[in-house]
Assembly symmetry: C2
Homo-oligomer: 401 residues x 2
């Protein structure tokens, strides 16, 4: 079995941790696996280097920034390869360039364009473990590029796709994907399997196991992902194609996202183009608008509500002061939470959303906004009800362990 | 004027030092220079990385070691380039690979084979300062290699040769090359110029400004070297071809090398092959033998003396216990010093050596061994006379400032 294993910053955060990772790989290799490892920089290292650069400039030149930051993963991959060789496991370290990872030209947030899999396949063929520096590649001019946030996960998925690996294991400090945040209810249980689409909905809402970009790429390249812990031997969660999941749960998980604020525009003149004007103003200020709900008020005037990240409320206020359209008043509320239920089974089941509304009503929780997609129902409620809502829904959808 | 400037570890040992280097380069660029900078790792960084590797193995895999260590220079070159750009000086950072430095395959002590100067010339043509990570290159397979001790100096000299620079400036924490160690006499003065050959003789004897490898390469490639301090604006010492030095001093400098021990074999049977046997035994034990003096004793037996580094005396003892040739006794003395006078003018002047012997005799210093080359006379004397000998010779050869 050919497996790509990605170890994040905390998993390689010290020499002892690197040694533990080497021993884990040794065991897997002895068990018959062929292995490509993708590593992040040791935790803290990237921030140290960013701090160095910012000593000189608040906006350091992006090409140099990439050359600087890529050194972090270069160090980890050499060290892990040294540790493996010391254990008698033949290994060879590769920078992103040496692993054939070609990206576009967007320094500090490059996209992988292609991978020349020959160097990796050759080393695997020679019986070696390949240790690839994650987060990095080169552009068409041969300059080092980096992939931005979550970049090492992307490297791992792309490598797995390029060498047709049977599996791509993402090792972090958590055991896998849970039905909901275990800090909210001890009844949360780890999912054995979840579909790409469900994971995407969860990833976009604060289940921080994997970033959306990596899941999207895995889906596109049909790479089976497993997310598991590098600190124990527990089985993780398999993220795979919907077709690979026999029993499709109606609701797989419940997410609570507190990084939300609600903006309400009351008495918006009901004329063409006014919504466009409002959202143009926000887009110009680079504000990410999430849920949008519009309904009619009285006197031919509409109420328009939407959510923005809580950290962008002030910018939103500033952007909207420049909007002089016909609006009665604007209201901001950052004491709200977005609760979502996610499940591919929803597609073929009716009554999923109404069960959510009923459950919340029974707990006397008032719903402020509703938005739905094919496999997700999200509601905005007051933040203080977060735990109550999650626990009631977790139980209502029979997710309790 | 096209100038290569090399800054060593202490010259870029902190963010403040890197900033100071950037400002110095800014001034030189504003003064009309075209500049390629070669940098070492920040001081302490290479040792930190070696320590990491040795956590896993006393003999870490050399290929991985090179990938690991090369990150140190990669960090410095990106940071310096960021600092330059922040000052408004257009700069671009290059790893050894990106600067086109091709080496042989000897990981951790590679030799530069060729340099593709196109990337550097292109960037210079675009008006940029090129900041090259020293100490590194790639081998024919594209793997990162490092050049061993003094490697960044070698990078600088080779780059200067490859782009036909007018000058290669080596910045360290000392002002240049002195007539003798200023700690021994305050009459030591900085040399304005010195020939490659003289510098080679001085470099091999503990004048630690430059390593022999770099001077040899500079001589071969006809690169004019200047060694100067990065901590002040003093003029340094130009190291150049003998022909460029109008007035050839008889003696340019006086060196004292305390890292020496003397081995004396008395009553060696005077038959063919015996010296070869002795030195074979030492060579097998990887002991560097320096001065060798043989003369006849009585009864057809010879006395054979030589010097070894003081740190290798114990190994020499062990190597010679395995030598069972016909020798009366072996004597070891590590309380000696090697005093050398160096100067190209010796070639055309007689009486240089005898003035040395006379001067020492006037100070009642007994000479234990003598060795001469075309431009150097070395004597071994008792260590306690070091300062007296250097000061008398410094004055006798009219070097006093």
């Amino acid at each position: 079995m050919l497996v790509v294993k990605k170890f994040g910053g905390t998993s390689v955060g010290s020499l002892e941790r690197i040694e533990a990772v080497a021993k884990r790989i040794q065991k897997d290799v002895q068990g018959g696996e062929k292995v490509v490892v993708v590593v992040s920089a040791m935790s803290g290292e990237t921030n140290r280097l960013i701090g160095y650069a910012e000593h000189f400039s608040k906006l350091p030149s992006p090409k140099e920034m990439d050359m600087l930051l890529s050194s972090g993963e270069q160090v980890t991959s050499s060290l892990l390869s040294i540790a493996l060789n010391a254990l008698g496991v033949q290994a060879t370290a590769m920078t992103g360039r040496e692993a054939g990872i070609l990206t576009d030209n967007s320094h500090t947030k490059a996209r992988i364009e292609s991978i020349n899999n020959q160097p990796m396949l050759r080393a695997l063929h020679e019986g070696k473990v390949v240790v690839v520096a994650g987060f990095q590649g080169i552009n068409g001019s041969g300059d080092i590029t980096t992939l931005g946030r979550g970049g090492s996960d992307l490297s791992a998925v792309a490598v797995a796709g390029a060498i047709s690996a049977d599996l791509c294991e993402i090792y972090t400090d958590v055991d896998g994907v849970y039905t909901t945040d275990p800090r909210i209810t001890d009844k949360a249980k780890k999912l054995e399997k979840i579909s790409y689409d469900e994971m995407l909905e969860l990833a976009s809402m604060g289940a921080k196991v994997l970033q959306s970009r990596s899941v999207e790429m895995a889906k596109k390249m049909k790479v089976k992902l497993v997310t598991r812990s590098s600190f124990n031997d527990n089985e993780g969660t398999l993220i795979t194609d919907e077709e690979d999941i026999m029993e499709k749960p109606i609701v797989s998980g419940i997410a609570a996202d507190k990084n939300q604020a609600r903006v309400t525009l009351r008495g918006v003149a009901d004329k063409p183009g006014i919504a466009a004007e409002i959202f143009n103003a926000l887009a110009k200020a680079h504000i990410n608008v999430d849920m949008i709900v519009q309904n009619m008020g009285k006197d031919g005037r509409a109420n328009l509500g939407f959510t923005v990240p809580r950290t962008e409320v002030e910018q939103a206020k500033r952007a909207l002061t420049e909007f002089h359209g016909d609006v009665e008043n604007i209201d901001y509320d950052d004491t709200i939470v977005k609760i979502s239920i996610v499940g591919v089974g929803m597609k073929s089941h009716s009554g999923v959303a109404s069960k959510m509304f009923n459950t919340l009503a029974q707990s006397n929780i008032n719903i402020l906004m509703i938005a739905t997609s094919e496999i997700k129902v999200s509601v905005i409620i007051e933040e203080k009800y977060t735990e109550l809502a999650v626990r009631s829904l977790h139980s209502a959808y029979e997710l309790d362990a």
